[in-house]
Symmetry: D2
C-alpha cells in the first residue's frame, strides 16, 4: 500500500518517517517539503541517514496522488486544507495531522485559526481518536488527527463524561508539554539556553486546543462542557503530562474512578490504566504510542484528579495518525506501532 | 552578629552558606553535619572551595549556643525539634527550615509527620512568610520557615482570600517542582537517567504541604479553606511553577485580579506582579529571592488562574529564612538577598 | 529460538528486553533478577507495562539452561563469570555483556577487576565487535560483548591501525558519556540535581576500559598500542561522543582519511561514515544500533581527529549483544536491530 | 565611577548587567541595544525586572562617552571595532568583550574574521587575562577580553609552557561547551529539541579561538606553539570543560604537575588548583568567576592531561571583563566578583 507524507520536514513529519520505515504494510514512496526540496532525507535528518532512500520534493498533490493510496498531511494549519482538498479530489485517502479539520463548526475554526480554504470538507472529516470514534474511522477517507493536548485530556476524561458523572462546568486542564510540540520554530523562547532549567505557562485559557477539547468533551458528555485549559512548557523534548480537575456530581472513590477507566479501556491496545497509587510518567511512554492514565479522588474537597502521560509526537500526533490510517485501510490497528517506550 | 547553621550538608544548608557568605551583617561561625563532621566545607561542596574556611562539626546545640546569637536549623523534620528546643533553652533565636513548627495544631502535625519532640513550642513559632506575617516576625525568637510549595501557593492566593473574593472550597493547586526540593536523597527516581526528559505527579492529594497550605489559606480567608494539592516533579534542579485554580464568588476580570495583586504587593521587595499577558518563568527567579506572580481570569468558565514561580531553595527555603532572620534581628529585610536571578 | 536474559533489571537488561520484544526470531522465555525476583516485568519497568508477560526469577542457570538455546548475561563483572560458566557447562550459547571475558590476559583482568571465577574460559571467548571479528563470531558459543567506550573508540580507529598509518604511542581518547553508562547506581554524583547543567571527567587515565581499548587496538595494529583514555560524564541519559587524537606516520588529508573509513565500512550495516564537514551527534543515534564516525586531519599540527557517536545502551551494549547473537545463531545480522534513532 | 554597556542585549551583556548591579564602585548609567532600543531592561530580561531602572538606547558612542569613564563593549566582532575606536577617541577606557582586539597580527585577524575597522588599535590593546598579564592591565585603557575557550585552555596550560616543560607541537585541546557560548542566535541546532540529550563537535580544528589560543600559548612558551582545537557542544546552558593533552619533554608525575600549578596560582583569587584525584566540574563554578584546574600525568604514555572548568559567561566573558576593569581603574581586583557558584 503506497503512501506519501506531505510536509515531512517538521518534527511530526520526521516521526511519521521513523514509524513508516518499520510499518509492515505501508510503503513510503514520496515525501514533500518546500524548504528541503531536492535534499535527500538522510541529509536533512541525520537520524535517518542510511535508512530511507528518498529525496524531498516540492508538493504537487495532483501529480503525487496518482501513485498513492493514502497520504499523511503534516503541514501547518491553513496550508493543509488546500492540499487535503486536492488529494481528496484525486480520490486519495488522507490522515491530516493539522488543525484544519478538527473543529466541526466553521465559525469556531475562523475564530481561532482564521479563514478556511476547504470548509466543505469540515463535516466530512472523522475526528481521529480511535478510542472514542473507532467505528467511524474504519474505512474513513478523511481523518482529522487530534491535537496533542486534546488527546492527552480526552482519554482520561471522556469515560467519566460519557457516564454522566461530572459537573460539566468548571473543569480545569493543566498540561505540561515538551518543546517538540511547538515544532521546529526558530523562536528565542525555544532555545536550549532559554528553556533548560526553565518552565512557564503560555496562552493561559487562550490556547487553540481549548475549544477542541471542549468540542470533543461535549460530544462525550452529550451536553456543553466548559473547561479552562492552561498549557505549560517544561524542559523535555517529548511528552505531555496532564492533570484534569473535575467535580463528580456525587461521591466517587479513587477505586471506583479507576475501575471505570479500567472498564472503558479494557480492550484498548494503547491506553494503559495504572494500578492504585501509581502516576503516569513521560519516560514510560517516550517514543511509544501508549497513553497512560490514572485517577485519584480527593473526596474531602469534592475533586477528582485525572492524570495522563503520552508522547506528543507519537500518540499525540504521528503514531495516532498511523493508528487511524490502519483503521482507514482495514489493517490491524497496531500495525507498525508496537515499539516499547525508550527508557531510560 | 554571629550565626550558625545546623544541618548544613543538605541542599537548603548549602544554599544558606552561599547566601550567608555575602551577608553584610551575619557572620557564619559554625556549621554542623553529623555525616560530614570533620570535613572542610570546601571539600564537601566544591562550589564553596576557597570561599569559606570552616569545618563541619557534629551538632551540640548546648555548647554551640554560647557563641552565637542566631541559628538556622536545616535538619530533617523530627530531628529539628529537639535541636530547636535546646537552642531556645539557651536563649538563641532560631529560624527553623524544617516542617516541625509550621503546623499549629499538634494532631495535624502528628497525622502527617508523627510524634513531635517539642510540642510546647508549637504555639510560640511565627510562620515565616514575611508578606503575610511581617509584624509578628520583627523580633521573633522562633520562626517556622514555610515549605517551598506553601510559599509558592500562598503568595498569589492570599490577597484574594483576604479580600473574601473566592469560594473557599474546591480550590486546586497544581505545582511543578525541580528535584532539589527532594533534597540529596539517594532514590532511584531522582537519578538523572530516570528524571531527565521525564515528569510525573506524586503524592496526589496526599502531600504534607497540603495541610500547611490549607492552614495558612484558612488564616488568610478567616474561614476554613479546602484545596486539592497535586505536586509534580519536572526535570529542573531548582524552581517551583504553580497554578492555583479557584472560583471567584462573583465576576472578576484579569485586570481586576492583577490590580488586586499589584496593590497587595506594591511595597514588597521580593514579590513581582507581572504585567498583563506575561507568565512567570523559573529562569527569571533562579538563584534569587523573588517570587513572580500573575493572574488570569477565565470568566467564561468562572475560573481564576493564579500563577507563581520561585526558586525553591531561595524564596522557598534559605533565602526566605534569611529574610525572616533579618526581620528577627531588626536588620534591613533585604540584607544579603539582592542578587539578581542567574539567567540564562 | 528460546532465549533468556540473566540480570535483566539494570539498564542494559531493560534495553535487551526492549529489543528482544521486537526480535523476529528470539523468543524471550525467562528473565532473572535477584533484587526483583517475583515482580512482574511491567511493574518494575513501567515502560514495558502491557508489553511483556514475564516475572523476574532468581538466577538458577543450571535449571534455566534446559529450556533455552541462548543466554544474554547482563550481570556485574565478577558476578557474570560463574553464571556464564554454568551456562556453558549446560551447553547454552552465551552473549555476555559484562567485562569478565573481554580481556584476554588473566593478569590484566586481575589488575583491573580482581579475581576471576572462570579463567579457563578467557581464551575461548570471542570479542564481540562484529566489524572487527565477524567471522569468529559466526557460530561462536561464548562472546564477550565489548565495553561501550571501547566500541566507540575502536570503530573509528581500527581501520587506520590496521593500515599501519598511525604512530602507535601517544594516542589519546577523550570520551563524553551519558549517565546510563554508570547503570542504576544510587550515587550522589548521579542524581539529577548534581548532574544536570554539569559535566566532569572521572578516572582520568585510570578507567578499566583503557586496557580493553589498548588490547583491541593492539590486535588491529599488530603491535602494542599505547593510549591515554579520559572518560567524562555529560548531562545526557544515553550516548557516547568520542574524540580520538592520533598522529599519522606521514601526511594524511581529511579526504584520504574519510575515504579509508568509507572503504573499511562500505558494507557495514551499522557504521555510517559521515560526509565531509559533518560531525557525529548523539541525537542521530539515540535508541539505534548505529555508530556514526568521521575523520578530520589537522595537517598543520600533524594530528588526525577521529570522532564517533553511538548509543551506549544499544551499539555500546545490548544492541551489539543482539547483533553478536544473530551471528552466533546464523541469523541475518540485522534481525531486530533496524529501528531508526529517536529524534528529536 | 560611571560605566556603560554597549551591546547589552546578548547573553554576555545580560551577565554584565547582573554583575554590575552588585558592583560596589561601578555605577551603570547607560545600556545600548539596537534591537531593543526604547525597551526597559526589566521587560527585555524578566530576570532583572525590578532590579535595574534603565532603558536600552541606540548606540551613540560619541554622545554617551561624555557621561562615563569606562565602557564595556559586548558587541559582535566587526561591529565592536568602530564603537571601541569612537570611545577611545573620546578618552573613555574600554573593556572589549568581542574578538576584535584579541589577535595581535592583522593578517591573522583578517584570515579568521575579515576586514578590521580599527587596525591602528590592535597593537594598543592588552590581552585581558589577569593571571598572565596583570601588570599590563593595571591602568590600561583598552583591554581585549579573551575568548571563553582560550581562557579555559590557557589557565591550565600556561604555567607548563612558561616553565618550558612541554613539547610545543602536537598539543590538543578538547573543549565541551554549554550553549550560551553561541549567544542568543536563532539557529535550529540551538533549539532545546535539537540539543537536549545531544552533543556534537563543530568546527573541528577550524574554530576562531584556535589561533587565539596559539598566540597566547606561544607568548607563554616564548616560541611557536601548535595545537589542534576541537570544540564540542554539550547540553548545558553555561560552562566549559576542557581537556588539554600535551607531551612533557621529560618525565613529569601527577604530583609534580599539580605542584607546579599550585605554585603558579598560589595567590590568584579566581584560579583553584584541585587536590590530587579531583576533577573540575561545571557545577562548582556555575555563575562564579572561578576557574578550577587539575593535572594528571599518564607517564606510561608520555602524556600530560590538564583539565579546567569555568563559566563561559563569567570567567569566560563578563566576570573576567569586570576583573580587567577593576585592574584598569585601580580597584581591588575582586570587586563585585566574590559570589559563590550556584550549586546545585
Amino acid at each position: 500500500m503506497r503512501v506519501a507524507v506531505f510536509g515531512a520536514s517538521g518534527y511530526a513529519g520526521l516521526e511519521l518517517l521513523r514509524i513508516l520505515l518499520r510499518h509492515p504494510r505501508f510503503e513510503l514512496v514520496a515525501v514533500t517539503s518546500e524548504q528541503r526540496a531536492g535534499q535527500r532525507v538522510g541529509e536533512a535528518f541525520p537520524a535517518l541517514r542510511g535508512q530511507l532512500d528518498l529525496v524531498f520534493q516540492a508538493s504537487d498533490p495532483g501529480r503525487l496522488a496518482e501513485g498513492i493510496e493514502l497520504a499523511f498531511t503534516a503541514l501547518p494549519h491553513a496550508a493543509a486544507a488546500p492540499t487535503v482538498a486536492a488529494l481528496r479530489r484525486a480520490g486519495v485517502a488522507v490522515a491530516d495531522l493539522s488543525a484544519d479539520f478538527r473543529l466541526r463548526e466553521l465559525p469556531v475554526y475562523e475564530t481561532w485559526y482564521g479563514a478556511h480554504a476547504a470548509p466543505e470538507l469540515l463535516g466530512k472529516a472523522v475526528y481521529g481518536l480511535p478510542e472514542l470514534h473507532r467505528e467511524a474511522l474504519r474505512g474513513a477517507e478523511l481523518v482529522a488527527c487530534p491535537g496533542c493536548y486534546p488527546t492527552a485530556a480526552l482519554l482520561p476524561l471522556a469515560p467519566f463524561l460519557r457516564a454522566g458523572l461530572l459537573e460539566t462546568a468548571g473543569l480545569v486542564v493543566d498540561s505540561k508539554s515538551g518543546v517538540s510540540g511547538a515544532g521546529r520554530k526558530l523562536e528565542a523562547g525555544l532555545l536550549f539556553a532559554e528553556l533548560d532549567e526553565n518552565a512557564r505557562a503560555y496562552q493561559v485559557a487562550a490556547h487553540r486546543h481549548g475549544p477542541e477539547i471542549e468540542q470533543e468533551a461535549s460530544r462525550a458528555a452529550g451536553e456543553a462542557v466548559r473547561l479552562t485549559f492552561v498549557p505549560q512548557l517544561i524542559p523535555t523534548i517529548r511528552g505531555i503530562l496532564t492533570s484534569v480537575f473535575c467535580r463528580p456530581k456525587r461521591g466517587l472513590t479513587s477505586d471506583a474512578a479507576r475501575a471505570l477507566l479500567a472498564e472503558a479501556y479494557r480492550e484498548e491496545p494503547f491506553v494503559r490504566v495504572l494500578p492504585a497509587g501509581e502516576t503516569p510518567s513521560l519516560s514510560a511512554v517516550r517514543g511509544s504510542n501508549f497513553c497512560d492514565v490514572a485517577a485519584f479522588a480527593d473526596e474531602r474537597n469534592g475533586t477528582l484528579v485525572l492524570l495522563s502521560a503520552l508522547d506528543n509526537l507519537v500518540k499525540g500526533a504521528s503514531g495516532q495518525a498511523v493508528q487511524c490510517a490502519n483503521l482507514m485501510q482495514g489493517l490491524p490497528e497496531q500495525s507498525g506501532l508496537l515499539e516499547a517506550a525508550l527508557a531510560p
